[in-house]
Symmetry: C4
Subunit: 211 residues, 4 copies
């Protein structure tokens, strides 16, 4: 720990973007317009009819949360920075800010003829996000150049291994979406839930010290 | 204090979500549309007519503020983190971002037939928020596993005890809302004010050192 | 500096609210709707017609910026916190988030019959903001209870003295607004500019070390 | 490093403004309204038709990202602050928050008769941003007064030299926009990409240590 941590402000800026992006998601849940002549039941009905919005909100919230948890996890190993790293991190954040748009698109079109297009945009966004994440991590961890000098090589390797699955998974979700919109978005939701689950014990034991 | 504080970035991210969420509340206070042909009195009137919006804004602001103060208070005792803790904290933040929506709903429907539904959604949001808070704290404080090794057991116990009341209180507010919307939202407002009041002296004396 | 700084997270949360609030101001500057049949000159005209929006934006930005600079300045002297302080700081932040609304109101009504009402709301918001600021500072500085033990009493006294003027100034701006809306908002703008100017040299010399 | 870093909270506040500003950009990408009677192809078409919005979004995101990277870079050399510096930094942030508006303007008018006006506003915003940046840096670096006492004079001089180009470049973009809107915005996009590229090796070698 006598090695100076140089990435404090990158983390602060990234935290800000993640925090704003994740909080903006809720703006997509609209208050139904006032039904002046209907009885109470209609508000319940109008709230229930919005179910795709709630599902998209939860999917996106979990997606961004998982991305933040992973960002947090790899920055626990990273100590240094350079210009290329700043640019790659910026690309990652660009995609993070696009997630609320993709979410809105799915929420608006999931029960309409545009559902397939919307789901493909959503899965595509997740795919690019996963690719950016892999790129950022590989750039930082190659020969351990931006990592802490005393980092645990096994942990770093474990992260590399687990990240490899992300892009492939979302390609499958994309392909599923081509066939059936619901199946595609369902797989995106499942992936968000899956990636929220802590990694296997032997990895968790190591990373818990670096959180 | 020679124990390393590992939760800095979790707090930074959480602070961001709390800060954005609490600031977005004001977007619900709309500027009345231009009354081109009316005299000045109409603007005053149109502003006055919006009173449910102001009441909901203040209630929600206090609710999120109290949640932040409590988040701040328990993180004063917490030193470590793990994946389960990150996920529980994420669930808490998800509910925090939903508060502005529930607020808008109450503000829009409090003087309409949908008032009861809106109040139940609001009280339900607060209930889940209180449950998340209890869950987060119990997860962290169980056997003191994520707390500072030198934490004051009396303070931790005091927090556990005072948090126990939250979920019950909001269940009562929910039940009140079933009978009478105004009574339900009134109790939510009263609870927000109540929880803003500093805890009893003997607890405050201890916690003030950990703020 | 061997005295622990306990207010880090209060500052982080406050910074978040200030940052979001000051950034939301720009949402009030609307892009004119597409004039499909008009030549280029109309966009210039429509942008020029929005001058009250730009004036309100700059006034509010400066107002929040000045409040942040002052918040930053007094927290340079403050080392400790307690529950009452957290609540007072929360009240201050509540008013900070209301500034964008008051700004929108003025921007929408400054050239209409509702101008006087809008300006009174704006001046009133600034008045409450100035009062909250005085309250927060007096609470923290009374007998130096939350200040650094080695704080410069002269600097603290200088801050108390300069803050005294704020509430009175905005009462005058409010009174001016009763007589003439333009005069009232003009004084608010002048005050924002005035408070942006660094304090007199002998105070600046001391505070510059605590920024 | 035994010199105290006084600018932590200025960076935190600035990071907040940059993060919120850069995240708000995406709000400009609107979900197309539901085409209830059209087949799927129409959503693809409506998304494709929005291309100026995507181009403007990416341009602005890169512009703000580059500004943040530069802000981050110069604050790596800056250790002290004073009131004039706070005000100059505030002016810079004001312009940063205006970028989303200029972006929206370009996105809305790039394929209409108002294109030239919109592009001039955008290039003008970038020009003022570049001027503010130069002003902030020159204020801080003059005689090294706010810089770390052990700062590398060559690095500081390199920054001064590279910043000199910004204002001139955007004047050229402005002039280009007078002749041809597309050429003007194209140059702004090219500049954003250009400034994202890390500086020449001999500078990068030094700054990488201060990131």
């Amino acid at each position: 720990m006598n090695e100076v941590k140089e990435t404090g402000r990158i983390e602060a800026f990234s935290d800000g973007v993640f925090a704003v992006g994740i909080t903006l998601l809720v703006l997509d849940i609209k208050v139904p317009t006032l039904p002046l002549i209907n009885p109470r039941i209609s508000l319940i009905h109008e709230l229930a009819v919005q179910w795709p919005v709630y599902a998209a909100f939860i999917t996106s919230f979990l997606t961004i949360l998982v991305m933040w948890i992973n960002h947090h996890r790899i920055f626990g190993l990273i100590r240094r920075s350079d210009d290329g790293f700043l640019v790659l991190n910026g690309m990652l954040l660009l995609i993070v800010t696009v997630v609320p748009f993709s979410t809105s698109l799915v929420a608006a079109y999931i029960v309409s003829p545009g559902a397939r297009t919307a789901v493909l945009v959503y899965a595509g966004t997740c795919e690019v996000l996963a690719l950016c994440f892999n790129g950022l991590w590989r750039y930082a961890s190659k020969d351990g150049r931006l990592l802490a000098r005393d980092h645990d090589a096994l942990v770093a390797h474990g992260i590399t291994k687990s990240y490899r699955h992300g892009p492939l998974m979302y390609v499958i979700a994309f392909a599923l979406g081509l066939v059936n919109a619901m199946a595609g978005i369902g797989m995106c939701l499942a992936l968000a839930v899956f990636f929220t689950i802590p990694p296997a014990k032997h990895v968790a034991k190591h990373t818990s010290r670096t959180v």
